[in-house]
Amino acid sequence: MQRTQALSLLARAEPALLQRFVDRHQQQVPEYRIVQPAEIGLMMVRGRIGGCGQPFNFGEVTVSRCTVLMRTGELGRGVRLGRNKPVAFHLALLDALLQIDFWQRLIYSQLLQALQESHDAERQQASRKADETRVEFMTMVRGE
């Protein structure tokens, strides 16, 4: 799984889920330091009409972010929509741990797999719902 994919799943996950994982492994987590304490700020979201027009400033969103550094040099960044400092810290820690092989396997089997599955199921359900309301257009061929 790509780092961006993993982070995208984690950033949408239920905060309690991440909290539980970090709490459960508190003892084993290698030594780390918080280099940017969790903070709340605004981030400009930019958009493009139709995905290809000129970029414009869409509006600002609230984000929480945090950065941790492992003793071995891995840098973890946590960013999440909304005002929630603890979850930003948990995301940063998980991002750093994901760069260590042992932890990557652990996080994958205990967190990411389930998240991926529920994410896929949600998507499927949404597209099924959309499919039910599909309108078929028919065109009559005009004879000359």
Partner: protein, 215 residues
């Protein structure tokens, strides 16, 4: 055992809101009353650059301000520490540009007088699209030679002619900065940094050489 790469990550503001607001206030003061040294207080720096320069970078730069480093600035990196560009990207997320004319902030050393011509001076419609030069007087070949540039400054923000002494600058800077004055309302603004102190010479300041016999 020390943390890997720790020094790099200990150079931010301890109190980002207050420290950047304070620095911004000093800069406003500096631009409205040019030619005066002001101290920004000590702060950890990621490399051997002056702490005032680093404070100003942290205050003014963000995702929307391209930064350019002169070759001498890059050469001044301490090989045992992280490159300055890494630190700028980590703390400010500013894009580091290769082409000088694209920069909104140009980081220069005292040896870079001849590089001013390559920087953006703005356009008549948008004179604000010009570069701001952050010159580190304690870096560069002329820095420790005892060279001193004396300038007689006048213009907006000066009640009378005021003599400003810039240590570490060679005389090559005077014609370059005088030419810059001729471009007004276009042109570059200068922030000279030396350890914790900085001094502003905006594009509006007229400069003359000072015949100085002492020193």
């Amino acid at each position: 055992m020390a943390f890997a790469a720790e020094g790099l990550y200990q150079s931010g503001f301890e109190n980002p809101v207050e420290q950047s607001q304070q620095c911004y206030r000093y800069l406003l003061e500096g631009f409205s009353r040019p030619g005066r040294w002001a101290s920004l207080g000590a702060i950890n720096t990621p490399t051997s650059i002056s702490s005032s320069l680093w404070t100003i970078l942290l205050t003014l730069c963000d995702v929307e301000t391209p930064v350019w480093l002169s070759p001498a600035m890059i050469a001044a990196d301490d090989p045992e520490r992280h490159p300055l560009t890494t630190a700028i990207k980590f703390y400010t997320a500013s894009p580091i540009v290769e082409i000088a004319s694209q920069a909104q902030f140009a980081l220069l050393t005292s040896a870079d007088a001849d590089l001013l011509k390559g920087l953006a001076i703005g356009t008549p419609e948008y004179p604000d699209r010009s570069a701001t030069c952050l010159v580190d007087l304690s870096l560069g070949t002329a820095a420790n030679t005892g060279a001193m540039l004396h300038l007689a400054c006048s213009g907006p923000g000066f009640a009378d002619i005021r003599t400003v002494s810039l240590p570490g600058l060679s005389s090559a800077w005077l014609p370059a900065m005088q030419e810059n004055r001729q471009l007004f309302p276009l042109g570059l603004d200068f922030i000279f940094c030396r350890q914790e102190e900085f001094l502003v010479i905006p594009r509006s300041t007229s400069l003359e050489a000072v015949k100085c016999t002492s020193q």
